[in-house]
């Protein structure tokens, strides 16, 4: 049975269209990540699913029961209020109750249980997230990571059928985040409930989600397993959002190809003369010393190198190119030693090259604020 169904949900804040007809489903036990830049509507969608934001148009179904439905223009039926939806919500700022201790926070959602039973369940939830020892502490004495764990235990204790997590790791130290991410994944999976996680970090989304829905400007652009999105992006935005890329605009020539600094790139399915966007991932550009240039590689000059440990970021310019021709970024193994100003050869992995018909001019990529 599907745990959550969102059908054609649209939402407006004053003149701003926050959601523009979003539909998606989440299966029981599945983790779906909503990924997108800030302002893309992902948090609004989460709040609508929780009932924290009144539904304006569309339908929300949890485990087969319609909890909210509205045909727009105020013709909505009565909504099931958030307290009756049996969901666990994790807030970006954790929203722990400062007047309650850790164990009291964890037991907050168990008010229908007898005090003893509630305490036991809360203690068990705290143990699951590794916070059992700090049960008596107060939230302001905890670190950010500890607060996140308590918030997770609090959301988990009433055994909700649906978890909704709103940027649950954005306030956490990068070093700690990976651990917390793994632990959270385990807790969510063990619970057997469905989960929706909102994030703006592609790595986080791909690590955590069974499926990832990429959102932009109130729409879901593509939804699928992380690998699908990565290997087969359907829009330039998805390709760009998931990795660092080189992006070129060009026109399809008579032989069905587009000229780029890396030579002509085939544009199957695009008519000659149409505008196109070519995206080449930075790690798809192989760089070799000039002395061992593989066949088919292009002669380049190393303009700039930034070693970053495991990898190096290299800026290449095609030898003999006109000044107007854009340079090319490559992300190569840190073991490769390149001197600035040296000659090198570049070879592109065709799996890492994507061609899209040009959209109307966009601010793709700059939408991350």
């Amino acid at each position: 049975m599907t745990a959550l169904v969102i059908e054609n949900v649209a939402h407006r804040y004053g003149p701003t269209l926050a959601l523009d007809g979003v539909s998606l489903t989440v299966a029981k036990g599945e983790i779906l990540c909503l990924l997108g830049p800030s302002g893309c509507g992902k948090s609004t969608l989460l709040r609508i699913a929780a009932g924290l934001e009144p539904l304006q148009s569309g339908r929300v179904t949890i485990e087969g029961h319609t909890v909210a439905a509205a045909a727009g223009a105020g013709a909505g039926e009565a909504e099931v209020p958030p307290e009756a939806r049996n969901i666990g919500f994790l807030f970006q700022d954790f929203a722990l109750f400062p007047h309650l201790s850790v164990i009291e926070n964890a037991a907050f959602g168990l008010h229908r249980l007898a005090a003893g039973a509630a305490r036991e369940r809360a203690q068990a939830a705290l143990a699951r997230v590794g916070m059992a020892e700090l049960a008596g502490a107060y939230p302001h004495t905890l670190s950010g990571g500890q607060q996140q764990r308590v918030a997770l235990a609090r959301a988990m204790a009433p055994a909700p059928r649906l978890f909704l997590l709103d940027e649950p790791f954005s306030g956490i130290d990068a070093r700690l985040r990976r651990r917390l991410l793994e632990d959270t994944w385990r807790v969510l999976k063990e619970s057997g409930a469905a989960s929706v996680v909102v994030t703006h970090d592609p790595e986080e989304a791909m690590l955590l989600g069974d499926r990832v829905a990429v959102m932009r400007a109130g729409r879901v652009l593509q939804i699928g397993a992380a690998d699908d999105l990565y290997r087969r992006p359907e829009t330039p935005f998805v390709a760009e959002f998931l990795s660092e890329v080189n992006k070129f605009r060009g026109t399809v020539n008579a032989s069905g190809a587009i000229d780029t600094p890396l030579g002509p790139v085939a544009a199957p399915g695009l008519a000659a003369g149409s505008h196109a966007i070519v995206i080449i991932r930075q790690q798809g550009v192989g760089v070799f010393p000039d002395s061992s240039a593989p066949p088919g590689s292009l002669p380049m000059t190393v303009e700039w190198v930034r070693p970053m440990g495991a990898a190096s970021l290299v800026l290449l310019r095609r030898r003999g190119a006109e000044a107007a021709e854009p340079p090319l970024y490559a992300r190569v193994s840190g073991k490769l030693r390149l001197a600035e100003g040296a000659f090198a050869a570049a070879l592109v992995d065709s799996d890492e090259v994507f061609v899209f018909p040009a959209e109307t001019p966009t601010s793709v990529g700059s939408g991350r604020d």
């Binding site: 009144p54 304006q56 700022d93 907050f108 959602g109 229908r112």
Partner: protein, 562 residues
Amino acid sequence: MSAPHRARNPDRGWSIFGLALALGVAIPLGAVVWRAFSGDGAFWGHLADTVLPRYLANTFWIVLGVGAGTILGGVASAWLVSLCRFPGRRIFEWALLLPLAMPAYVVAYVYAGLFDAAGPVHASLRGWLGAEGVLSWYPNIRSLWGAILVLNLVLYPYVYMLARAAFLEQSVCVLEVSRTLGLSPWGSARRVALPLARPSIAVGASLALMEALNDFGAVQHFGVDTFVTAINRVWLARGDATGAAQLALLLILFVAALVWIERWSRGRAAFMHMSRRYRPLPAYDLKGWRAAAAVAFCFAPIFFGFLLPAAALGTWTIDQAASAIDARFWKLALNSVVLAGGAAILCVTLGGAIAYALRQSRGRRSLRLAAAIVGLGYAVPGAVIAVGVALALGGFDRAVNGLTGGASLWLSGGLFALYFAYAVRFLPIALGAVESGFTRVTPHMDDAGRTLGLGPAGVFRRIHAPMLKGSLLTAALLVFVDVMKELPATLMLRPFNFDTLAIRTYEFASDEQLKAAAPAALAIVAVGIIPVILLSRAIAHARPGMAAGTAGTGVAPALRTA
């Protein structure tokens, strides 16, 4: 697609409540304006020919003297205790607030008793210098300058408190940047710290000036005629409602001008703090004579504004204890408590409801407007509110009597008028304290409560109520103390034969029985010191980067609301 936000009925209910409250505040003010224009112009002409120039001159000098004095004293002392290091600094930090516990009229009575020609100071000087030697230069405390001095002594803490909070809120980084850009310590004070604190200083000064314009007891005792004393005289002695309303309208205009000047001087300077990084402020170590001067500068206002009057009151109370603390004294104390307690409950209930409504409706425009109108009450002098309430309730009674053919005082004769006036004047304090308490309850906490299975009532009971407990108590306490001290409105609106401690103090002082006034005055000061202690504790426990007062009790924000 068109999907307007569905109107929710609870919101509409709250809006009606908020607008009703705003109307309640607006009615007395409207009554004043209405009455002022209903009379003929004769009174205006008479006023302008006779006393008006004197009222205007006195009020002008009071505004100027109190404005300059409180800013100078408040900012300098705040600067010293927050950015310099000298012996006793930690004590001065909170002790500089003590004069807040002293109503201006109490200090005026004490100073009249100590310093006028019949007082002990004059007597000892006569003993040393001979009568002629003293009389030639001894200043008369019962004068405009005496009133300005007394008002300065009890009102500078408003500026001190807000300036100090502003200095503490300033990111050290801003000060350090100015140093790295080549400014000396004093240069960075003048060009960075003071300009940054200017909006807060302006708010503090305008609070002090509102209190000064509201003052009745001090100026009246020193024989300085102001609008408030005139309203009181015209109303009580001559029974001339129209004349009182016309004077009240003039005073409203004066206050409005003051508020406008404050807003204008702030301009758009609502500075945001860009930095979240705070470190302990750099302290300039003061040594030798500089340290001594700093100690003297901080000690003087505490001594003259609190210690000296408190000691005098204490001594006189011991003198008078046998005769003055009688059954009548306790009856008056009970009356004071009934008034103050009732007003506190009323203001906290209404203010709390408005703050809650504002939050639930996420700042609905009608409610924001209502809150803004309610907030005006604090700027209006008590005497003006008294005139307005009496006019409004009198009009209501006449209307009812017109229908029933009777001649009863339905609303204007009893305590209702007093509670009404207190609510108009002190509701903003309660509202401010509760609102500042609500800022600690983030919207996500409400959402968390809802997703964890609580309805709105449950969220209120299990999250809001326990988290707001302290703020509600603070709000109640602030209103309680202000009502205890309140003089002009109580004097004009109290039912026949219903006296309070403040009234008794005033009446004894009017009869020049200053020592007999001491026990009641001391009781008022003793109660008034409770919120000062709360404030002091907030200051002592404030962390760097956290304004005193926002550190839990919400006292300072409450005072800021005007």
